[in-house]
Every structure is written in structure tokens, then in C-alpha cells.
């Protein structure tokens, strides 16, 4: 590939990376017996939030929410970090994709 193409590619890759360094309030969710605790989590509106999800089961779980546009696998006996928001007030359902029958919850933004 010639240098011109290479330049286009590098510029393009850089353009989609922008860093953001504000500290976000931390909230925690726990997975136990394929259930989320708390099943309803209240977070502030228009604020970016750091969500720590602790999976205390042996099985992996995937935190998924179409409304929040988030999905992440949390391996068994470990934890994961997801950033959500800033969001307008409302109710945003989420579920565990691997055990969707029981692992259900909501993020309430107030």
C-alpha cells in the first residue's frame, strides 16, 4: 500500500479516538444465583456513571441492554466495569443474556 493510503488510514484511526478524563460516580451491581442485586438501580440524570458488575456465580453472564446500548461478558467469580450515561431521566431495562429468564433489572435515571 502506498504512503498516501497509509496517511488516510492513520488520520482516520486517530479521528475516532478522543479521550475523556472526568471522574464518574461509581455504582455497583451484583450477580448472584443468576439474579441482579439491586434489580433496580437509581442513578442521577445527565451524569456519566461507572458501573461495576460483580459476578459471584460460577457461570459467566453477559450484561446486556438494548436501551443503554451496552453489552459485556462478566466471567464467573469476577467483575467488570461499564460506563453508562449521561442519560435523560427514564427507565432503562437490562438483562443477563446468558440467563435472561431470571437475570432482569432496570436502571432508573432520575
Amino acid at each position: 500500500m502506498n504512503t498516501f493510503l497509509l496517511r488516510v488510514i492513520i488520520l482516520f484511526s486517530l479521528s475516532i479516538l478522543a479521550f475523556n478524563v472526568k471522574a464518574a460516580p461509581v455504582f455497583e451491581l451484583t450477580i448472584q444465583q443468576h439474579l441482579f442485586y439491586p434489580a433496580e438501580l437509581v442513578i442521577p440524570a445527565d451524569t456519566k456513571v461507572k458501573l461495576i458488575i460483580k459476578n459471584q456465580d460460577d457461570t459467566a453472564e453477559e450484561f446486556e441492554s438494548y436501551e443503554l446500548n451496552r453489552e459485556k461478558v462478566i466471567p464467573g467469580q469476577s467483575s467488570g466495569v461499564i460506563f453508562i450515561g449521561p442519560l435523560p431521566a427514564g427507565s432503562y431495562p437490562f438483562f443477563g443474556e446468558f440467563f435472561p429468564k431470571t437475570a432482569q433489572g432496570k436502571i432508573i435515571v432520575k
Binding site: M1, L5, V8, I9, F12, S13, S15, I16, L17, A18, F19, N20, A24, K48, K50, I52, D58, T59, A60, E61, E62, Y66, E67, N69, R70, K72, V73, I74, P75, G76, S78, S79, G80, V81, I82, F83, I84, G85, P86, L87, P88, E97, F98, F99, P100, K101
Partner: protein, 258 residues
Amino acid sequence: MLINAVVIVLREVLEASLIMSLFLAYSQHVTVSRLSLLFGIVLGGLFAWAYAVHISTVSNWFDGVGQEVINAGLQLAIYFVLLGFITQALIGVSRPIERITLISLMVLGIVLASIREGSEIVLFITGFSSAPDLLQPVLIGSAIGAGIGISVGVCIYYLLVTMSFKNSVRVGYVLTLLIAAAMISQVVQQLIQADWIVSEYPLWDTSNWINERSITGQLLYALIGYEATPTPIQVTAYFSAIAMIVFVSFYQISRKTK
């Protein structure tokens, strides 16, 4: 549990299967050995397994967002492989070096796609080793899901190879373009989730029109990276990704006709 396993595995297999069918169809037209592509699946599968085994370690990288960063990296790499594939296909494969480049790109693409999609399947299934009573329905469901996903790929493959060469190149080009752009949209999504890219309010909400949960929504997600509530930066990146491939294509075509 069974239906759930079908859906999860189908979703993962579908994307890799689409890329695979495009490459296989192209190999058919230019008579490239398909054994090398099979090698890509096996290699990708092994890497996927290794990635899944070490997922807890990877997750802790970059302050707990290692998974997002690695996944974004894999998908960004898939985008550039598809860009390279289109470029090389336009340049042609008459010389040995060009053939080798094209085959390498295809194998690399398959390895990357297999790692990305395969690792999630491995994590899902191996999680049930501690729940033996659920393992059987999960395995059956996974097999059905994989079967459907592969069948869709096979359908697209036959659709492409039974067309005239001109038409199959056109359809294949558009499909590759859409899949590549979907990759970039997912890269942005992953990096927003990791807080590496600033999060914004969605540009629009089409969830009442096509819900992401619906079958149509899932299919569109695999094919064009459909999101009901994309952020402005995601939409911009998506169309820039398309623009770049189209630009590079025109550049190659104009160079060839000179």
C-alpha cells in the same frame, strides 16, 4: 435454556459466517485454495479459546475495560482487513505476490472474526461446565444456532457464486462495505462503553420502528450494524468508514484505467 442458546450462538456465528461466505465466494471466482480459509477458522478457534480462558485477566487491563479495548482492536483490524481485501481485489490477483496478499488478508480476516465471535461462544458454553444439568440443552441449542448461522452463510455463498461474475462482484462489494462499516460502528460503541470516547445523547431513536430485539433488528445488526439509538459520533464514524472504502476503491479504479 435451549432457545436462549440458539439465539446467542446464532448471533455470534452469523457475523463470522457472513464474512466467511464473502471470502469463499471470491475464492471460487479467482480459484484460491479454500483450505487456507479453513485453516483460518481452526487457528481463530484456538485463539478464541485462549482469549476466553484468560478473559478475567484481559478484563482487568486498562482499569477494567480491557475487554472493550481488545474487542474494539479486533473489530478495527477486521475493518482494515476488509478494506485491504477490497483494494487487493480491485488491483487484481494476476501476479503471485498479489495472490499471496489476498489469501493472507482473507485468512487474517477469518482468524480475527473467529476470535471475536468465537470467544463469546466459548465463554457462554464453558460457563455451564459447573451446571451439568443445563449443559446438554445448552450444547444442543448451540449446535442448532451454529447450524442456522452457517446455513445463512451457505445461502449467501450460493447466491453469490450462481450470479454472473459482474453481479456477484457488485453484490459482494456492497455486502463487504456494509459489514466493514458495521465493524467501525461497533468499535465506537465499545470505546464509548470503555469511556475512551465521549458519550453523547443518541442522534435518533428508531426502536419503535425496528426494535433491536426483533429478528429483523438482529439480522440488520449483523448485516449493517443496525442500532436503534446511535450516538452522533457512531453515525459519523459509520459513514466515514463507508466513505473511506468508496474513496480508496475509486482511487484504485482510476489508477488502473490511467
